[in-house]
């Protein structure tokens, strides 16, 4: 015969009771062994559901399909471009990412813009990496391992650091190619999302400041003689946050 408070206990464990209701259940739990047992079982089940049952995730093909379907219903290219500072300021004033845009000003060279094939290349490289055949060449959470490896294999030495505390865990690096040019890729994990940060030597090719392709957000910036690009399916604000951390690192590296 279950305790008559069983339903109330469940609402309590679901966080649906107000403070008074919660206090009532808590004092009831002290005297009712049946409810204590029910609570233990409930928690065991919840842990199993959250940690052992499969949480399905969207695969790259589905993202690509949705991106293509959206393209069909979007009249113009989604790549935002800047043709001059006026467009920049209009854009910067308009969005929620105004501060981020302003912050990136100091690092970005504005030029007449090209770059569509590049965005395709970056998106494809990202998709390939997610298909896990080629995510990481060097697995390490230690920047002192990843940075020299990239220097040796990609001839590039982009800033690398583990930003676990800020939510971006360094998981490794690899070498990839963008439009035939060798790029050093640093791989970060942000929750369930993978962020690929590409760095390559670029001599003046103009780029958009950010872009969205197939649901992946892409942020570009320049620092020193390197061009950087971060791509992920996480929110654009998250990617901008990581790009800010990396820009900060470039400045520190430059001073060292």
């Amino acid at each position: 015969m279950p305790c008559e408070r069983a339903q109330q206990l469940e609402a309590y464990l679901d966080g649906e009771l107000d403070a008074a209701g919660a206090a009532e259940v808590e004092s009831h739990l002290e005297t009712c062994s049946e409810c204590r047992q029910a609570k233990a079982q409930f928690e065991e089940l919840r842990t199993a559901l959250r940690e052992k049952a499969t949480y399905h995730r969207a695969g790259a093909p589905l993202r690509a399909r949705i991106g293509a379907a959206l393209d069909k219903e979007t009249p113009r290219s989604v790549v935002r471009r800047f043709s001059g500072t006026r467009a920049l300021w209009t854009g910067a004033a308009g969005g929620a990412t105004a501060t981020a845009l302003a912050a990136s000003l100091a690092f970005f060279l504005f030029m007449p813009v090209a770059g569509d094939p590049l965005i395709t290349d970056i998106t494809n490289a990202h998709l390939r990496s997610l298909a896990s055949e080629h995510l990481i060449d060097v697995v390490s959470t230690d920047r002192h391992t990843v940075k020299p490896w990239l220097a040796a294999h990609a001839d590039l030495s982009p800033p690398v650091a583990d930003f676990s505390r800020q939510g971006f865990k360094l998981v490794g690096g690899r070498v990839d190619f963008l439009e035939g040019v060798r790029a050093a890729v640093t791989v970060y994990r942000h929750g369930a999302h993978v962020v690929n940060v590409f760095a390559w030597a670029n001599y003046g090719e103009a780029l958009p400041e950010f872009a969205t392709r197939n649901g992946y957000h892409i942020v570009f910036w320049r620092s020193g003689n390197l061009t950087f690009c971060a791509i992920s399916d996480t929110s654009i604000d998250d990617i901008l946050a990581l790009s800010r951390l990396l820009k900060g690192l470039s400045q520190t590296d430059a001073r060292e």
Partner: protein, 179 residues
């Protein structure tokens, strides 16, 4: 227009995993789940101007569930309904996992697969509230809105879903410990 697309992608696409997870648990098939989610995302895109702000996830999941109901009707009329299949997509398939050791994750997978199979056998109306509550961490009120039933019904379905699951799952666990 570009701006609308950009806003939509920034707001909606981070919840694509939640959408596919719900669709996959409702349809119990990878291919059907992909179709339901694509349909749902396009409907969301077309209806985006009507989204009144706030948390977009429950709004998207409502559309996903409606698309699933619609597809269910279509399929029944065509005379076939998906049976629970073996998981064709396992956790960690899409990304290399830097998690625990192979043995412990293999054990977790075996247990997880059993649990998956048990969840898949729950009737639709119990399975959906369970997924929304335990995997998506939504409130009773949000679940009531998504599944279009009164709050009391959400509570009783949730209780029933847990009772069924508890019985089968704890039975499995005890059986495996007894070996």
């Amino acid at each position: 227009m570009d701006d609308r697309r950009r806003r939509f992608e920034a707001q909606a696409l981070p919840h694509l995993d939640a959408a596919i997870n719900l669709a996959r648990w409702l349809t119990r098939s990878d291919a059907d789940a992909d179709d339901v989610v694509q349909d749902a995302m396009m409907r969301a895109w077309r209806a985006y101007d009507g989204f009144r702000g706030g948390d977009i996830r429950p709004w998207l999941l409502t559309i996903v569930r409606n698309c699933w109901r619609t597809s269910l009707g279509d399929r029944k009329r065509r005379g076939h309904v998906a049976l629970p299949d073996e998981n064709t997509r396992l956790p960690g398939d899409e990304m290399t996992d830097s998690g625990p050791s192979p043995e412990s994750s293999a054990m977790r997978n075996a247990e997880g697969r059993k649990l998956d199979a048990i969840i898949a056998t729950l009737p639709d109306e119990f399975r959906e509230v369970l997924i929304l509550r335990e995997m998506e961490d939504l409130s009773y009120r949000e679940i009531a809105a998504i599944t279009d039933v009164p709050l009391g019904t959400v509570m009783s379905r949730l209780a029933r879903a847990r009772a069924m699951l508890r019985e089968k799952w704890l039975g499995e666990v005890e059986a495996s410990h007894a070996l």
